[in-house]
Every structure is written in structure tokens, then in C-alpha cells.
Amino acid sequence: MDTQSRIPGLRARENRVGMRDETRWERLDEQSLVTRMRSGDEEAYEVFSQHYIPAVYRFAIARLDGDAQLANDIVQSTLCKVVTKLGTYRGDGPLLGWLCACCRNEIAMHFRGIPREVGFEGDGVDSSALPAPQSGQPDALLLSAETSELVHLVLDILPERQAQVLGWKYVDGVSVREISLRCGLSEKATESLLTRARVAFREVWASLGGGAVPARARSEAR
């Protein structure tokens, strides 16, 4: 939906289902994304900014009892250091895992009050910083805050359009027909979008260490 501005030379466009562009979705090659950022590629930075910064913020605020001001300071401080240390990311683990490890260190430094640099060196990747899904404990599945958090982090990383249609379909229970109306797409195109969204969710989930959900959990979830 395009809304023309009421002043010359200015127009605003409202994207119905989100601003993150599917065409710039490059999570699958995070090493390449980081390399391009290091070379000053603005498009790569934009992908990083749109897909990873919200996830890091969500990760931080969940560990700071919802203290938004502190989360702002810590995420800002983490990311400003991260962008100067991109060379230490080796690409042998998820970028979000590395970012969350850096953020976790920054939080720890804040509470310890130790005025020194966080450890961006080392092996560069620490997936253990990410919340661990409790796939082996079906009883805990519905209650696991960590599983929910990981699901939400995955949605943060997905293109907003895909994350939103997944939310409509599975969280809100909206029909494909209704989603197609909201998106301004045909039902066939909406089905295709949902398929792409599930594929992307599955890949990101797996890359962040999520596993399959046991059958018992599935039946309990129903």
C-alpha cells in the first residue's frame, strides 16, 4: 500500500506485513554476510540490522528482568563492540549464537562491574549462549520459557513477512484465506509464502540448535 505524501518530494510507503525484505534474506550464508559487512557493504549491514538486532535485544531484555533502559545500554554497547570485532567471528556456528554470547558477556561484566573488554576472542562462537529448547522433556515443552524464547528469536531472524504469516496462521489461528486478504495475495501465493516461511523457520531453528519435537510433546501440545 503506497501512501503519497502531502508535501512535494516526500512519500511514505506502508508495507502491510512488515519491513524486512525477503529478497535480502541471507541468513544461510552468515560468514558471507559478515565478510561483506567488514568490507563496508551497506546492504549487508542492513540485513544484519534488520534481522539480528531485534533478536539480540529480545535476548538481553529477557535476562534483565524487562529493564528496557539497561537493555538499551547493554545491547548498544554489545553491538558497537561487535561491529568492530567481526573478524573474530569464524562462521563455524550461528551468528546469533555468537552475538548472544557477546551480549551475555556484556551483561555479566555490567553486573560484576569489571571495567574491561568482553571476551570477543576465543573460538568466536558460543551457541550455548542461546536458550536451549527442551525437546527431550515433553512435559516441559509448553512451559519452557527457553523454548518459547528460542522460537521468538527464530521469528525475529526470519523476514518479518514470513514471521508475521506464521504468527497469524499458528498463533492466532487465522485462515489462509484471511491471511491472503491481509497480505493482498492470492490464496495460492499465500500458501507458497507459508511454505517458504516454514522452510526458513525449520532451517533457522536447526541452525540455532533446536531439534525435532518428540511425538509425546506433539500430542500434548494438541
Binding site: 502531502r6 516526500l10 511514505a12 559487512m37 540490522s49 499458528y170 498463533v171 522452510v199 525449520r202
Partner: protein, 344 residues
Amino acid sequence: MNDERYEAAGNVLSDDQIGELLRASGPRADLPSLELAAIRAKTCAAWQNESRHSRSAAKRTWITRIAIAAAVGGALLLVWMLRGRVAAPAPVEIATVEFVSGHVTATRDGARTDLVSRGDRIVEGSTITTEGHAARAALRIASGVELRLDEATKATIVSASEFELTGGVVYFDTGVSAGPGKSNGIVVRTESGIARDIGTRFEVRVPDGARAMVVRVRDGRVSVENNGGRHEVAAEKELVVASNGQVTTREIRGWGAGWEWILATSPRYEIEGRTLSEFLAWVARETGWTVRFSDPAIESRARVIVLHGTIEGTRPDEAPFAVLAGSGLEGKLADGVLEVREAN
């Protein structure tokens, strides 16, 4: 894409499992768009600064390799040519002009350069002087810090973190915060004392002809040292070191007429491709206003409205009204609070 292969794989999520996970996890909490926009802006500034630095370093490395190769063939000749001469180290570029109006000069080692346009570069150790009516400048220091100079100001950029203010007014927006409770390392020396930042935005003024110093803090905190004493100035406070050394503080507002000259030196802001949220975060930073939304739904919309065009020629306190109108919204300003609401 065919989902069947994933279901057959056994150790990956099926479509049903994805649905179950999403249902069990419930809706995502909305993240605060203005804060995220501010974080994005600061991270972007840090990234751009790092990229510039990396490119310069890479270039220097390449040039060094060529120089070494050349030296292998002509070392003796070079030594002979340079004997008795010691080349002075090349001056280091320390800042870039982001905004300039009126007559502004940079002087170093007696050589004076007029700063005339955005992108002009300034070397370390330069003294910047704004001369005459409406002469003002905004500079981006290599560290990412933004320095603004009001009319009739003379300040020396000793290094990326150290500045000497001889007269006039300077304003710092460190942009990249060092984190909670930590200093960004900015030091401003005046005849009357030293101001050190413990925050992000502040102004230091040396009144004309007076051996005095005024520090106003818009955001964060600043530490001021004079005569062996140390005083902390919090946000929306002003500290005055009088000519006789007496120190007084008072409350001020972070917005309004007292910061008028900051608006007049605001570097060009490109709205093309930015979201309305990002734009409003910039407006809040420049004006000191608090931005509020009349309705959470409008805040959500602001996150997905992508702006196009330009606001060149409009000040940060004028631009939001035009931009909001172009987005089907309107802004109402009262007591430093800009309320964004549906247009009537």
C-alpha cells in the same frame, strides 16, 4: 520448496511440529521501536566508523607492500636522496565536516584552510574557528563522536578524545555509548576546568571574555574538574564555574530555545528507506523531545512505514510535522512531548 523432504528426515521439524512450537510459544512481545531505532543508528555509526578505518588500514597495507617492493630495488638511492632530511609524520585525518555554515576555518601549524562543504577533512591538532554571524559547524570525529561548534567558537581537536575550548560553545553527541556507567573518554579542557563525559550529549561553553565555564548536560552525565574539585552534572542540569571559581548548578530542560543552535547545526539526515520509527528517534535525539504515540497500533505502524524523499532544508523541529502528514499521521507538540496520532 517441498516440505515433504523435511518430514522424511526424522531429525528436523515437520510442518505440524512447527505449528505446535509456535502455538505453544504464544505471540512475541513487541519490542520498543524507538529504542531499537536508536540502537540501530548507534550501531550503524560504529560500523561505518570501523569500515572506514578498515578500508584505510587495508589501503595503507597495500601501499606499504608496494613501498617495500620499491625499496628493495632502490634502497641505497633512496637513503642517499633522503640523507640529512627527516620527514615529518603525515598529519592524521581526525574529523570530517558534516555541516558548515558561514566562515569556518581549520588552522594547524600556521596553515589555515577554509571549511566549505560536507566531507571536508580535518587533521589532528587543528584549531577550528567559527568566525562571524551564523558561522557554525558539525564535525564527525574518527571515533564516531559528533562535535558541533556554535558561532564565535575556537576549539582545538587535540586527538579523537581530547579537545581544548578557548572560547565559544561546543556540543558533543558521543553517539556510540561506552555502556552503562562508563565514560566515552571525551575530555574538554578550558581555562576554568576540565569536563569529562560519562554520557552521550552535552555542551561546554566558555563565555566571551570571561574566565568561566558552563556545562549543560542533555543526556547522560558529565564530570567537571576545577581547582582540584570534582563535580558530576546529571542530565538536564547545568553547572557554572564562575570566574572566581565558585560552582553552582541548576536544572534546565533538555529541549527548547536553549538548544536552538544545535538544531541549526544538524547534519543532513537522509530519510530515504528509513522507517518512521527511525526518523522519530533521530528527531528525539536532535530536539530533546520525547516522542509518544497516542495508540500502540500507531507505534506498530511507525515501525513498518518506510519513508522516501528528502527533508533537506528543514530543521529537525520542523521535519516531523511534514513527514507525519505524508504518512497519514500528525504530531502535536506540548511541553517537549511530541504526540504522534492519527491525522484528523
